[in-house]
């Protein structure tokens, strides 16, 4: 198993020699970005994020709240955290300059972040410092080895050779696929998924990231955009491109496609309502909900809006969806009907989270804004 061996050496190296990593990072910090003649290739995967005064005013892809802290991820390898509900932000040490798209902390200290270039980052200190666990260059090579082995094992199954081809294509393309979402069911067991059906799983806190593409019913390799947990433990809902909806089950290690699709457009965001319903928002502001894992759907009553790109369930159970033009929709009936919130950041909104007492934190192309929710 060549791929596991490589990942073993890699992870043990980084785990056992924190000081060496630190020194290495320092040397990189001193040399890499300033030594043009030495470092001929410019690659954001090899360059540490630089501290920036304007990080909170720059493009933010996601704002999330875990264990009393608020995290924001953005361009140029920005990961910011705030311990005072978004009043002040601190920039984390990140070893790359990629766009960081999502973040999840299953425990107060352990967290993962994903982003462009198939990147997975890991932190064990509540997000102060990060190290690279995975990147898109490994996706193709490890996937190829994995599916070649499976293709040999099951020569009768044409799907494995199909996936071998897909992995060869992935190698050709390089690290071009973003991971849109990361979710950890425990501090060891997690999923990361993204563009072109990319779906990875770990059961050892990210020491190994396994391909599980073959276990999903997504042979057109549609993008996977968002994730929402279902009431039954281990089961979750995946929303994707062009009407792709899947029910994942960690225990059965399978993601099964929802056949009864309400609409064949892209669903960018999903949220579990307080009553267990899954509410989906997507292109052109379409909003649907299901209470029975997609067997039946109802379309929400709502005013016209732009494409819905993110959503949040507030502590009081209200659901808020963000339209990318900056329009915000709120539902007090678990997603049956929505009305427009009379507040705006004056610019596009890409993400949102609940702020302190009756406020929303919204993020977009010009950073983080705090909006006061009408009571």
């Amino acid at each position: 198993m060549p791929h596991t061996r490589t990942s073993h050496t890699r992870t043990s190296h980084t785990r056992t020699s924190d000081t060496r990593v630190l020194i290495g990072t320092l040397i990189l910090l001193m040399l890499a970005p300033w030594q043009g003649s030495w470092a001929k290739d410019f690659d954001v995967l090899n360059l540490p994020a630089v501290r920036s005064e304007i990080a909170t005013e720059s493009l933010v892809y996601s704002i999330r709240k875990f264990h009393g802290r608020i995290y924001a991820t953005g361009i140029q390898g920005h990961i910011l955290w705030s311990e005072d509900d978004g009043e002040t932000w601190t920039q984390a040490q990140v070893p790359v300059r990629s766009s960081i798209l999502d973040i999840h902390f299953p425990t107060p200290d352990k967290g993962w972040a994903v982003g462009h270039e198939g990147l997975i980052l890991h932190s064990v200190d509540a997000g102060k410092t990060w190290e690279k666990q995975y990147d898109g260059l490994r996706y193709g090579t490890e996937g190829l080895a994995y599916y070649q082995k499976l293709a040999l094992q099951y020569p009768r199954d044409p799907y494995y050779s199909y996936l071998v081809e897909e992995m060869q294509f992935a190698i050709e393309q390089g690290a071009d696929k973003p991971l849109f979402k990361v979710y950890f069911h425990s501090d060891t067991h997690g999923h990361a998924f993204g563009a072109y059906g990319m779906l990875l799983r770990t059961r050892d806190g990210g020491q190994n990231w396994e391909h599980v593409l073959h276990a999903t019913e997504n042979d057109s390799f549609y993008h996977l955009f968002d994730f929402a947990p279902l009431p039954e433990p281990g089961r979750f809902f995946i929303a994707g491109e062009a009407g792709l909806l899947m029910i994942g089950d960690s225990n059965r290690r399978k993601a099964v496609r929802v056949e009864n699709v309400p609409w064949e457009g892209s669903f960018f965001t999903s949220v579990a309502a307080a009553d267990g319903r899954i509410v989906l928002g997507g292109l052109r502001g379409r909003l649907f909900s299901t209470a029975d894992e997609g067997k039946s759907w109802s379309e929400a009553q709502k005013p016209a809006s732009s494409s819905l790109v993110d959503s949040v369930r507030l502590a009081d159970g209200r659901l808020v969806f963000a339209g990318m033009a900056g329009d915000l929709l709120v539902s007090s009936d678990h997603g049956t009907s929505f009305s427009r919130l009379p507040i705006s950041s004056g610019t596009r909104v890409y993400t949102l989270a609940e702020g302190p007492s009756g406020t929303l934190l919204v993020g977009g192309p010009d950073g983080i804004h705090k909006l006061t929710l009408p009571q």
Partner: protein, 812 residues
């Protein structure tokens, strides 16, 4: 001793007794053929006068660029391929009350749009506003794209269709660009054609500007609620040309002021008019020669005729003074003129040459307008040798001077006690106490000046277009645009170059991202736009507009598609090899520009090794200003070094005395220091326009020293004490020195009213230098001489007042 004594120049009232073979060969040549000389001058004046009327007015900006600076070289090499820096006008139609979105106001916008459409020189296909068909909205749907024009085909001005227009504006994402976010105004983007494709003619900026003003007038003259704002390079040039016209009017004013002053001094209108006329002949010649040599008048060189006139009048005044004194003592006008020529020609040439040194030093500055200024001013000085040193005495030899002024001149010089209080006050400074006081005050002034001058900034400090005044119509329009639209007129453009088809390379664009990111950190950078920024946005657009795709991800197919769209939108040239990264700045202060330049240079030092892509400085108004600031800062020191070097050499040759040089140069230096302090107080920075001022101020200022100090030194050598020497000097040349000061100032002070800001700045500073140098020569110079120049006792004091302006022959 050196100055001509009575025996050299006997008073001859009868022309028949005059020895026509006396004097130098030049004097004989000129005066013995004075009729022919007059006729020749007349012919030359007619000939050059004809050409002078043909001279072109131009207000191009290229000549103000430091042509040798790498930034400008880069721009010149790549300008033809650089897209997105086009010659655009931005016209904004605004309402004061209510919103633009009413039936009448939208109709009004459409009418203005149509009126602009028909102006010659407008690239009609490229025009963009709410009412042009190329303004469309587009949204992503599950089937792909859906779109249409922002103003729908069935637009009827009803409430319903206005609501539709508003929705379309939102969907088209043109808020803040074509429509202000407060809904009170809308923009019309007007690209211009440098060459008219039908006629092949070059764009006539003056006419274009005139047409735009016509539109502004017709549409808003009787409308208090609606206004039209216009900015853009073409409008700026148009306004500058208008400014040039206004400045030409000031020339007449300068002539009147000089005439009044000179007449006040001579009290003889006839000879005053002659001197002014001869000086005007010099201006005509100078303009004619410039036209013949193919020079154009720009906002800088238009000031040269003023300078030539001012210098000419001051020299003419001395000639007139000489003739007046001789006639006063009974000489025949012809003889008086000839004596004056004999006495003053060499002195005049020396003085003019010293002015020329000031101009010539400007040649070291590698900025075309300044070099042109140096050349045209030098031509003017040469012309003055003919008109004012030769023609004026000849003309005066015919006309003589009026009787009244002769009687005035016949009055014997007053004794020290009877002199005007002002002269008596000046004489104080030859005594040790007051002299020490004067020097102490000067030292204090110099120290204050030096401290204040520490804050002297490089570059232009005001907002808006630096050429025009901050409160000009144009700059008010600029302020309006900045307030209501996300545009700034201060743009620093990095020229990004790759091999052909290289603009799609991911690593290259990543590097562009890196530079963009570094620039965004810089204080004063408002926004950065360019191919890489737009590529990220389009890559998101291609992927259903999902925000997490707004990144430069490594999918080459997506990138190719995005950039092919951007080629169509002219973000990059069709060869996909060159594009501008436009850095929008909050202002064009030197500190801001320096930070941008340093960031760019540091980036190049770090990543210049990646050879597939080059990041070159710089185009855009701020790019040029940054380059200009660098050159100007360096030139400022160099120029001071050379101009003082030249002046010191000149003084050494003239005085052959080190204390003399010190006495002459220290007052000039005090003026230079105070001039810099004045610039700080007035909020002026060192820039292309103020750079020549110090060279001109010092070059012309040394004239005073030549007049006053030569006389003092000559008298001292005769063994007179300083007070007596200075008394005599004041009697003979002091009044002329004062006259020179005010006539020079009269020539340039009118610039202060110019609508072109840098001309006003130059006018104020030059006036200050001319006047202050005069005080320096009359107060500080004798005070310094009190301590530095030791009189040589032994020779019999000579109290005769018979010698007039005597020292000019001395030591020259």
């Amino acid at each position: 001793m050196a100055h001509a004594s009575e025996s050299d120049l006997p008073i001859i009232s009868d022309l028949n007794k005059f020895d026509f073979n006396s004097g130098t060969w030049l004097e004989k040549l000129v005066f013995n053929n004075r009729g022919i000389v007059m006729a020749l001058c007349g012919l030359v004046t007619v000939f050059l006068g004809f050409y002078a009327t043909q001279i072109d007015l131009r207000a191009g900006f290229e000549k103000t660029l430091p042509k040798a600076h790498q930034y400008v070289v880069n721009y010149q090499e790549n300008r033809d391929d650089l897209k997105g820096l086009g010659n655009n006008l931005r016209v904004v139609v605004a309402v004061d009350e209510g919103t633009l979105f009413t039936r009448e106001n939208l109709k009004f916008l459409e009418q203005v749009n149509d009126a602009i459409f028909y102006i010659p020189g407008v690239d009609r296909n490229g025009m963009k506003s709410l009412f042009t068909p190329n303004t469309r909205w587009r949204v992503v749907t599950e089937q792909g794209f859906e779109g249409g024009p922002v103003i729908p085909g069935d637009f009827d001005g009803s409430e319903r269709s206005i609501a539709e227009v508003k929705r379309n504006i939102l969907r088209a994402g043109i808020g803040g660009d074509l429509v202000a976010n407060n809904e009170k105004s809308a923009a019309i983007i007007v690209p211009l054609l440098e060459i008219n494709p039908e006629t092949g003619e070059r764009l006539d900026y003056a006419r274009l500007s005139e047409k735009l003003e016509e539109i502004r007038k017709t549409f808003t003259e009787n409308d208090t609620n609606r206004s039209i704002h216009i900015i853009g390079f073409a409008k700026l040039i148009g306004d500058l040309i208008d400014g040039l016209m206004a400045v030409m009017g000031f020339f007449a004013l300068a002539v009147i002021i000089a005439t009044v002053l000179l007449n006040g001094y001579t009290r003889c209108l006839r000879s005053t008019v002659m001197v002014i006329a001869c000086t005007l002949v010099a201006v005509v010649w100078q303009l004619g020669i410039l036209a013949l040599l193919g020079f154009e008048l720009d906002p800088f060189s238009i000031l040269v005729p003023f300078l030539v006139f001012a210098i000419g009048v001051s020299h003419g005044a001395q000639k007139l003074n000489g003739v007046l004194q001789d006639i006063g003592r009974g000489a025949h006008p012809y003889v008086a003129a000839r004596y004056t020529f004999r006495r003053l020609f060499i002195a005049g040439v020396t003085a003019l040459l010293s002015d020329g040194v000031g101009f010539a030093v400007l040649m070291i500055i590698q900025i075309q307008v300044i070099q042109d200024l140096a050349i045209t001013a030098s031509i003017g000085v040469v012309v003055l040798i003919f008109t004012n040193l030769i023609l004026i005495p000849i003309v005066l030899s015919y006309t003589g001077v009026g009787r009244k002024s002769v009687i005035r001149a016949q009055r014997p010089p007053k004794s020290q006690q009877d002199m005007h209080w002002l002269w008596r006050f000046l004489l104080l400074f030859t005594r040790r106490g007051p002299a020490a006081m004067a020097i102490a005050v000067s030292v204090v002034l110099a120290v204050i000046g030096l401290v204040v001058a520490q804050d002297l900034q490089i570059g232009d400090l005001d907002k808006g277009a630096p050429e025009l005044r901050p409160d000009s119509r144009y700059n008010r329009d600029v302020a309006f645009m900045i307030e209501n639209y996300s545009v700034s007129t201060d743009v620093f453009a990095v020229i990004v170059k790759t091999a052909a088809d290289g603009c799609i390379d991911h690593e290259g664009l990543s590097l562009a991202n890196e530079l963009e990111w570094r620039l965004r950190q810089v204080e004063g950078v408002e926004d950065v736009r360019g191919l890489n920024v737009r590529t990220r946005e389009i890559m998101m657009g291609i992927n259903e507009g999902f925000p997490k795709w707004q990144s430069l991800f490594r999918n080459q197919d997506t990138m190719n598609y995005a950039i092919s769209e951007l080629v169509t939108l002219e973000y990059v040239d069709p060869a996909c090899s060159i594009w501008p990264m436009q850095v929008y700045l909050a202002d064009h202060k030197a500190a801001t520009l320096t930070r941008v330049v340093e960031t760019l240079e540091q980036f190049k030092a770090d990543w210049g090794g990646v050879d597939k892509i080059e990041f070159l400085g710089a185009a855009g108004s701020s790019g040029f200003e940054a380059a200009t600031n660098i050159v100007v800062k360096k030139a400022n020191h160099e120029m001071l070094f050379y101009v003082y070097g030249a002046v010191i050499v000149l003084c050494l040759l003239t005085f052959r005395s080190v204390p003399g040089v010190v006495c002459a140069v220290l007052p000039l230096m005090l003026t230079s220091i105070l001039c810099e302090a004045l610039m700080v107080w007035l909020g002026m920075g060192v820039k292309v326009a103020t750079l020549p001022v110090i060279a001109l101020g010092v070059g012309i200022g040394v004239d005073y020293a030549l007049y006053v100090l030569t006389v003092i030194l000559a008298k001292e050598k005769q063994g007179k004490d300083l007070t007596t020497a200075y008394y005599e000097t004041l009697n003979f040349t002091g009044r002329v020195v004062a006259l020179i000061g005010v006539t020079l100032a009269a020539g340039v002070i009118t610039w202060a009213m110019s609508p072109i800001k840098f001309q006003a700045d130059m006018g104020i500073l030059l006036t200050f230098m001319f006047i202050w140098n005069m005080f320096g020569a009359l107060i500080l110079m004798p005070a310094l001489a009190t301590f530095l120049v030791k009189s040589k006792p032994g020779k019999a004091p000579e109290e005769s007042a018979a010698t007039l302006v005597p020292a000019e022959q001395n030591g020259r």
